[in-house]
Symmetry: D3
Subunit: 244 residues, 6 copies
């Protein structure tokens, strides 16, 4: 059940059945030579839709812009400052809580969001505590960190899965948007890996945007496998969460 | 050309051809008994996609959450504080400017966004001026206020077009999502109109969320007319803008 | 009754009779070759004083600095960032509400204030709603947009009334401060009109600060006519507001 | 020369002669049973006008709202949060600096403004330093703390001058606005004195708003003496400042 | 009783006996050729520890970073923006209040902190008042401004005590850290004095960081005298405060 | 070399030799029945001092207050809001960078700081990038997550090491402050473990403040082992960092 495609009376009725909601959150940032700029938003959006096919759960519109400061060396990347993303999360959570939502499950597609979103949760909990009110429960679920997902990626690609513009996320985005599959020569086949600090440093060390990955291995078929697995495993995580 | 479905090298090439971008912006808020909560995001997203079919223009991911404080009395509405939305716009504009975008065309679907987005533009212009830099040009285009659109709505529905949950926007959203067309009894047929101040006052005066409208008149066929007209008229507005 | 010239026991007694207050708000910005930098503050201040001669209403000190970013290319203009003006309005409204004021009528002289002040109202309504409290009613009344005022200006000056440094506002400021009437040659007689974006663009397009106007037509006598009409028409608007 | 009554070409010419400006700053807060709520704004406004009669100096519009949190227990008091006042000062200084003003003399009428305005100066100096630019010089001149003023007050009223709603400031405001002289019984004749912390504590300890003063002694004639002295002594302070 | 060396059950028991706490606050900034960068933190930390030897009072960890913008021309100085320090104080006070602390005694070692910390207190009082709650009492005690301390400094050093990098504070820091006593030639023996505005101006006028002082006179023995006196006199001030 | 015990000329000389600095950062929060509230600050402070005995490295004053929202259910815990901590880090980094520091090594003792400090780094990198300047390199080193440390803790305590109020951190704090070793009965011997969300939830699930640990096992002798190992291993990490 998509919030964007529902009416308010439908939401009102949903709240009689459930006070949980899934909010996909991603980013708008480079994902290497053949990865889509929307990869991190497409993946959780797609997984959430898959969960909604199996469970009676409301899915909020995807938060498509995230904290991507370190990708700003590549055309098309857009970043929110951490403090902006924190405020955004605070406002969305605050709004949903007013309608009676008690369990907010942020299905996340981007590592750079973890620090600001986690910070936002702390601010939210502090605010509610200060006002003597029960805070809604918030959870940030990072789909690619799920053990089963990581295991599948390892099995399929070994180290070539990589750390940014990974094969698995590119594959999943291709499954969601087969019309947007791209071809690009990559050299070396497996990108370099290592630490970085700011956007200039990132670009210097990872000149085509990949970290340790071979996203040219990504296929729609593999993407479907990640999709099926992610829907299953994150659905379970979500069900566990709403019981807490 | 959708930014989310492009790679960074594709965007780099686009910037050789054009430094303009369209950013759809909407809201997540009630639109009466049969209007979709995503109406204000769906409309500009759809129009932008239509423009992109005719012009070589890049479309950014839609900003799906807007300033909807006065709709908070209805389940499912989500609002950003004006100050949050201002920061969000500042960050998105700042990011795009860094890549060389000079003309940012915000295609807006929601009246409540006008004040904060306009405020954001002033902050952006001030910031760039203070730093002795040329600010990117920003324009907020409110599709429903276009003269041709308003004329068509008047011709089709007269006063029953209304002011919130209007027939035209509901129709356009139905055209975009025919799977989500809803039926709902409405009484009175044409909703009351008037001024309001806060969310409680809004709910009191407009108990089903409509202001002055009869969205039960909305059809997919009418939606297509609004779509065709909006694509044409806003495309022209966009082309005029990028020549400035 | 001027708040600045009252004592607190007098205000306490006033609050027994009325919980409404008028807060004039303007700007400090260029108004062309012969218009006063204080025009936008002088006009609402003067009109408010006129209303107070006819009604038992409290007038707060004028907010003399507004959002004037686009005028910063001209010496003497001062601008608040939109976010600063938002905070200023929030604090003033919050203070007045604590004393029991329920109807806050901002009598505005400057178009650039509309977006931030409207944004501030939304933040205020959100804050009160979040705290489970009844928000004070706020209204932003833009004197020059009043239909009767616009009609008189049209009748007197036709298109030469213009859009910035208009004849009507300069005339009204001259009526209020006849000692400050200025003479200045203007070429062309009617200034150019058009859209602009930032301060540099404004200065480029409108090199003497006027937009579409001929403020050399402004006279004290005309100013008195605008004054009399504005007092009458805004007084009525205010009386309607406090009945809501 | 009043900025509000000048045109931008006049300011441009002034800047050829001088890059100094006086900005009166006060508050809107209770001043005891017979003191005006605008006392702290009226005094520096009046003194500044007096200086401008003797020197070719530009006077900005008065900042009429200040930091008055501790007076909020009395009807009609309005307070800005310290952080709001800080931003307000930052914006005004930033605007004036852009036009070439180098010496900004804030003529202050209210003790509660000292901490936030001083904080604002530090933020301004930090900002300019960070940007590698020369900051404008800012000075906060508290008229009532001038040694000569304090001496005169002591000579006229001894300890009955007091600490809030002092005889001297009420007298000066009466000189400026003889039409607003008020009569009020006060008991005890000399108000209690002591420390306080928040607004409730202030009201508890100083139930009529005075601290240690007998403002019933204030006369227009005394007000004129304070006015003459303040114009002289602050004019000298200003002249010393602009030579730095 | 040091908070950092206590357990939470110990604090819980302390709160049965007392709801007062001392929070030392200083800075990290240059103190001339032989003064320690930590001088302003070391002094109140040491005095607070001395008070805790005589009274059953809880001492919070020292706030070691303060508002030192004007010292930024000298290596090793660190400054918080006033607005950051304000937020820091707000958060610390808010946290302590939640546990039931009612009297918060900030023992301050740095003049630059006065404006922001005082501003923070106003924001705190405003927040609590707005929420209809009793604010905790906050006091900022500036140890070097104590009359007895100033008298001793005057007796020992006359005018050579100075205004920054004073003999007394350097001596007290030496008493606390005899292992860090430094020798440095100073020329002139007594530093110049005067007003300054920003960091560059400070460095220009006071090239070795001292204002009006001769810190080469500082000895551990003198430091002990200041220590003993400060413990005594500030302990009394604290005891008076907690009775309010 | 402690910054607090140095003079500015000493820092100036240090900067000729090195542009790296270590900034210990901890928290002020409950650590179970026998753990010190200052544990998270004491550990990195002690380790940093140990590194400074072996390397010529400057150590900044410890940031003693961190983000501890979830511990607010226990007396004596103090928390900064994430946004406050972000600003604090931004200001400290900005100050140090101005003096020429290029490598800032935050030696962290508290997990709750990771999200806000990491967010701060992103804001800092964004700011410098926006200004076209090279950002200083920042690293957050979490001593307890070091592989060798974790291995030793596992070897000594197995699962009883736990997740909050761990045996290793309590032991290290005891080594640093043997005068503050505490005894407390704990039941059960090994605390429960699990997820939590806000402060009330934390207190409910972990009523004595421990998560999964048996800090009654902590001894000064073990603390010395952790100290020796941490000095060695973090010193190496620091040396690697400053070569980047």
């Amino acid at each position: 059940m998509q919030l964007a495609l529902s009416t308010w009376p439908e939401v009102e009725r949903y709240l009689q059945r459930s006070t949980a909601i899934i909010i996909p959150i991603g980013s708008t940032e480079q994902h290497g030579p053949n990865g889509l700029i929307g990869t991190d938003s497409i993946c959780p959006t797609t997984i959430a839709a898959g969960i909604a096919e199996k469970e009676d759960v409301l899915i909020a519109p995807t938060i498509s812009y995230g904290m991507s400061q370190h990708h700003m060396g590549f055309a098309g990347s857009v970043t929110l400052r951490p403090s902006t993303l924190i405020q955004l999360i605070i406002d969305i959570v605050g709004s949903l809580e007013k309608h009676g939502f008690t369990h907010l499950y942020f299905l996340n597609g981007h590592g750079g969001n973890i620090a600001p979103v986690t910070s936002a949760f702390s601010e939210i909990y502090a605010d509610f505590t200060n006002d003597g009110k029960q805070a809604p429960r918030c959870r940030l679920a990072n789909w690619w960190r799920d053990a089963a997902i990581a295991k599948l990626a390892k099995a399929l690609y070994g180290d070539a899965e990589g750390h940014h513009a990974t094969v698995s996320e590119v594959a999943l985005s291709y499954y969601a948007h087969p019309e947007a599959v791209k071809q690009a020569a990559m050299n070396p086949a497996v990108a370099a890996t290592g630490e970085f600090y700011d956007a200039a440093d990132f670009r210097r060390k990872f000149p085509d945007g990949r970290i340790g990955s071979s996203p040219q291995l990504a296929t729609v078929a593999d993407g479907e496998r990640f999709y099926q697995l992610a829907v299953e495993t994150l659905r379970e995580d979500f069900l566990t969460f709403i019981k807490s």
